[in-house]
């Protein structure tokens, strides 16, 4: 596969109250972004279990985005703090696995930041394009 | 305009160029007329910026009109536009359509300058080899890898006998302060900022590429410029084409030396000096304080301000390629400026741009004020005060 043709696939876990709504706002405002992302709606970024991220990588996702409210906006008060702790720990594990840092992205995008959401996706797609497909995806292809 | 109904979008190709240049914001214009109302041209004659934008939206630009060439790209309108329309880009695109697609006509004066620039790399049509002649007796060394800064004086101070003093002043100051600077070889060409605004995109591209390659091959890391126009294009336009060097305007450079304490003008200039903000230093690049800092550092110099200083500063009339075109008497902004300076009792108009210098000097002469009013580049004043 030519690197130029590589279209990274991103699975995003977005909190219902902020980032999911921000993605909705991007839609309402017709702010376009690359179609490489698939959103899984969760109620809170603090709900994102490390296994969701690992499973996404197992499935061959090139990148995973975990996004939710800003610290002070959380519908559940401190979900982002819990999410941060989860991501920090998971990052260490993924590091041992040799996974590039860029593949797991943590963002805080509030309801009003539709444009930011689109920008995050654009950025992530660009970054992933430069670092290429996920090593786990290659596994799938190798086996296929 | 003819009586017949206008056909919208007669030049599809040109329209596309303009829409592309104006981008999304062009479509956003809601015709409030603020641009017209802040445009300095309306101090001297009617120039309906708003109408041109609307024509651009519809693809109905009258390419034959002299309005195509009127805009001085002073940015007064862009700064205030409630919808963020990049009016200068639109103007540039219209000119480009005329210049490159051959619809309408390029004014003669501009055509000659454009030809000179494209041919010999400077608007004056001078020999490229003579580019550094101004510095012959000043022991300025040629730039070599490792030299700290490159001094790039702009074509006008390089060639124009009356403006050479600007470049020579800079060299004098640099020599005095033992600054490790050099001049680039005579392969250097005009920066291309103005000719690009005048619609000659291809010329600009080749000039820029020439200079970028030249700088890169000589290992240039820092360029000090005398012209805000060079500054603007080096800073904002060259990087997109691969230019990777730092650019500093001479006023920024000198102000930083003053702050550091290494430059201390000591001779008194007991004159009332009024400073005119160049559009490309001020509105385009937000540099307002550095030039004033320099002037304040000169002993005995009395700094006065124009009524519309800084953000509201009036253009000299030389931007956007207008420096090469004829402006009728009575329509010259520089005349207004000189009048204002006289009202403020200024002895000297201080400038920081070669275009301003040319325009104001012309106005002072043609208005018969040469006895009472001088026009000087800030660097000339500094050199004088050393």
């Amino acid at each position: 596969m030519l690197v130029a043709e590589f279209e990274p696939q991103i699975i995003a876990f977005c909190c219902n109250w902020c980032t999911y709504a921000a993605a909705d706002l991007a839609g309402t405002a017709r702010v376009h972004y690359p179609p490489n992302v698939r959103i899984v709606r969760v109620m809170c970024s603090g709900m994102v279990n490390p296994i969701y991220v690992l499973k996404a990588f197992e499935g061959g996702a090139d990148g995973v985005l975990v996004a939710g409210c800003h610290l002070a906006d959380c519908h559940y008060l401190d979900g982002p703090v819990k999410c941060d702790a989860m991501v920090d720990k998971l990052r260490k594990v993924l590091h041992v696995l040799g996974l590039e840092d860029e593949r797991l992205r943590r963002e805080m995008v509030s309801t009003s930041e539709g444009v930011l959401f689109a920008r995050v996706i654009k950025e992530m797609v660009e970054q992933l394009k430069t670092i290429g497909p996920s090593p786990f995806k290659v596994k799938m292809e190798a086996l296929a | 305009m003819n009586v017949k109904m206008d056909i919208l979008s007669p030049y599809k190709e040109a329209t596309d160029v303009i829409l592309e240049a104006g981008g999304e914001p062009l479509k956003l214009c809601y015709q409030c007329g603020l641009c017209t109302a802040v445009c300095p041209w309306n101090l001297v004659r009617s120039f309906l910026v708003r109408r041109i934008i609307h024509e651009a939206q519809l693809g109905a630009v009258d390419f034959g009109s002299e309005d195509v060439w009127t805009c001085v790209t002073c940015r007064a309108c862009v700064d205030r536009c409630p919808r963020g329309v990049e009016i200068i880009d639109v103007m540039r695109a219209i000119r480009r359509a005329v210049a490159s697609l051959g619809i309408g006509a390029v004014p003669d004066a501009l055509r000659i300058s454009a030809k000179n620039i494209a041919g010999v790399g400077n608007p004056l049509g001078e020999a490229p080899e003579g580019r550094n002649d101004w510095a012959k007796d000043l022991k300025a060394k040629d730039f070599a890898a490792g030299t700290e800064v490159l001094y790039f004086p702009c074509c006008i101070p390089s060639y124009d006998p009356d403006v050479k003093t600007v470049a020579r002043s800079v060299a004098t100051i640099f020599n005095e302060l033992k600054i490790d600077y050099g001049l680039i070889g005579t392969e250097a060409k005009c920066c291309g900022e103005a000719i690009r605004k005048a619609g000659h995109e291809d010329t600009f591209q080749s000039l820029a590429q020439n200079n970028i390659d030249l700088f890169a091959s000589n290992g240039v890391k820092t360029v000090v410029v005398s012209s805000p126009h060079c500054y603007h294009t080096f800073k904002h336009e060259y990087p997109e084409l691969g230019g990777k060097f730092e650019v500093i305007h001479i006023t920024q450079y000198l102000a930083s030396l003053i702050k550091k304490g290494s430059l201390k003008p000591s001779k008194e200039i007991n004159k009332k000096v009024i400073y005119s903000d160049p559009c490309y230093l001020g509105r385009h690049n937000d540099i307002y304080d550095d030039p004033r800092e320099i002037l304040r550092s000169i002993p005995a110099l009395g700094l006065v301000e124009f009524p519309d200083a800084r953000e509201n500063g009036l253009c000299c009339g030389g931007g956007g390629g207008r420096i090469w075109m004829d402006t009728a008497k009575g329509e010259r902004f520089s005349d207004i400026r000189v009048e204002q300076a006289a009202e403020k009792g200024a002895d000297i108009i201080a400038v920081a741009c070669p275009y301003c210098l040319l325009n104001y000097r012309d106005s002072v002469l043609s208005m018969g004020k040469a006895e009472t009013m001088q026009v000087k580049d800030i660097t000339e004043l500094v050199a004088q005060a050393l």
Binding site: E58, V93, V96, L97, G98, L99, P135, F136, V138, K139 | -
Partner: protein, 390 residues
């Protein structure tokens, strides 16, 4: 593989339905619905659904207590393992502890193209050699390190201690920069596919490394390499648990580690199921313990062959029954009057530590005792630089 094959392979048909398995089964003691006998009976009757769709299938600790008592020598753990493979095929995975992260990591490690950074912890303090013919198996420790940091388990501490011991023995082992999970948990949860891939990756690397011996700090890796790999891959080298290596060296020369520091401690020892009942290694660790001056070893009520499992295997079905087992075992340890519980398996330690940070009941808190791996204890006793590598 179908049910019939499993019955054949594990000689299940010899079952006398005496129920001894169930009566000695530690799980069955707390979980009345768990019955090895019934599971075998279901198999023999051909009731596949009842066997493999029951979540209890994943409750078996595969601790080999049943087999050790079975008059017909039915290999119940292997029977369960194979039944689990069928269950996996039908989408049953048991309830994975820690949300299944550990299982997922094993699967991720099957990817051929990953470039792990598993040896970043390695410092100048330890001597390793590319040319060595002894390999120290690092295993899951680099992953456990961050995952279990909140229960203060340092799996890498055990690895480092083992390195220190090896160095003291004059061995500068080789470490593999890209070794994979041994596949133990995958195998025992019935994920044969993952196990096979991991085994192949590992075998290939070991072959390439050209070593003669692999030393393990983890009985699970040891068991897997020793008993399970040969069914799938050819390793062509010897494997040994560090306790065996130590016992062997000390047996030959009691001062092989130099003069050991005195550690005045009363300790008790937890036989890991894999090391004990699976592989019959009971004496070696005890001999090592006895070689440390000042250490007084006391045995728990159940030890050796009768030793009780730490309560969880392969990170599945870590339920209240598991917890009760752990509690029971910790109580036994405390009851000995020992100051420290020594084990020789990082996973035993993980599970015990996990239980000890539990909130517990107000009136009946989880028994607490200091817990340490045998390797750490030995490393602490080793003289110079005798920093405890916790």
């Amino acid at each position: 593989m179908n049910l019939e094959d499993i019955i054949q392979e594990t000689k299940t048909y010899y079952c006398l339905e005496c129920g001894k398995c169930t009566s000695v089964c530690p799980v069955a003691r707390y979980d009345t619905s768990f019955s090895p006998r019934m599971m075998i009976e279901n198999a023999l009757l051909g009731f596949e659904d009842e066997l493999v769709l029951d979540k209890e299938l994943f409750s078996c600790l595969t601790c080999y207590t049943c087999q050790s008592e079975c008059p017909s020598d039915v290999d119940f753990p292997v029977f369960v393992r194979k039944a689990r493979a069928i269950a996996q095929g039908r989408g049953q995975r048991g309830i994975c502890a820690h949300s299944g992260q550990l299982q997922s990591l094993a699967r991720l490690m099957t990817s051929p193209t990953i470039k792990q950074k598993r040896l970043e912890w390695l410092s100048q303090e330890y001597r390793v050699s590319e040319k060595s013919d002894v390999l120290l198996w690092v295993g899951c420790a680099p992953y456990f390190e961050p995952i279990f940091e909140d229960i203060e388990l340092s799996a890498l501490g055990i690895t480092k201690a083992s390195l220190k011991i090896l160095n003291s023995l004059g061995i500068e082992p080789k470490l593999l920069p890209n070794e994979r999970c041994c596949g133990h948990d995958a195998l025992w949860t019935g994920d044969i596919e993952t196990f096979r891939k991991l085994a192949e990756h590992n075998a290939a690397q070991i072959k390439e490394a050209g070593v003669k011996k692999i030393v393990f700090t983890c009985p699970e890796g040891y068991r897997t390499f020793k008993l399970d790999y040969p069914n799938h891959v050819d390793l062509g080298c010897e494997v040994q648990h560090i306790s065996e290596l130590l016992a062997e060296k000390i047996g030959r020369n009691p001062d092989v580690l130099g003069k050991l520091k005195e550690i005045k401690k009363k300790v008790t020892y937890q036989d890991p199921c894999r090391l004990g009942r699976h592989l019959g290694v009971y004496d070696a660790p005890r001999r090592v313990l006895e070689s440390i001056p000042g250490i007084e070893l006391v045995e728990m009520k159940h030890s050796g062959l009768e030793s009780i499992c730490c309560g969880t295997s392969a990170f599945t079905n870590c339920d209240s029954c598991s917890n009760k087992l752990r509690s029971e075992r910790l109580s036994e340890a405390v009851a000995t009057g020992a100051e420290m519980l020594i084990t020789a398996c990082p996973k035993c330690q993980t599970h015990f530590r996990c239980a000890m940070v539990d909130k517990g009941e107000e009136h009946r808190p989880t028994p607490k005792i200091e817990i340490m791996d045998l390797a750490n204890l030995v490393a602490n006793a080793i003289g110079e630089g005798g920093k405890s590598s916790k």
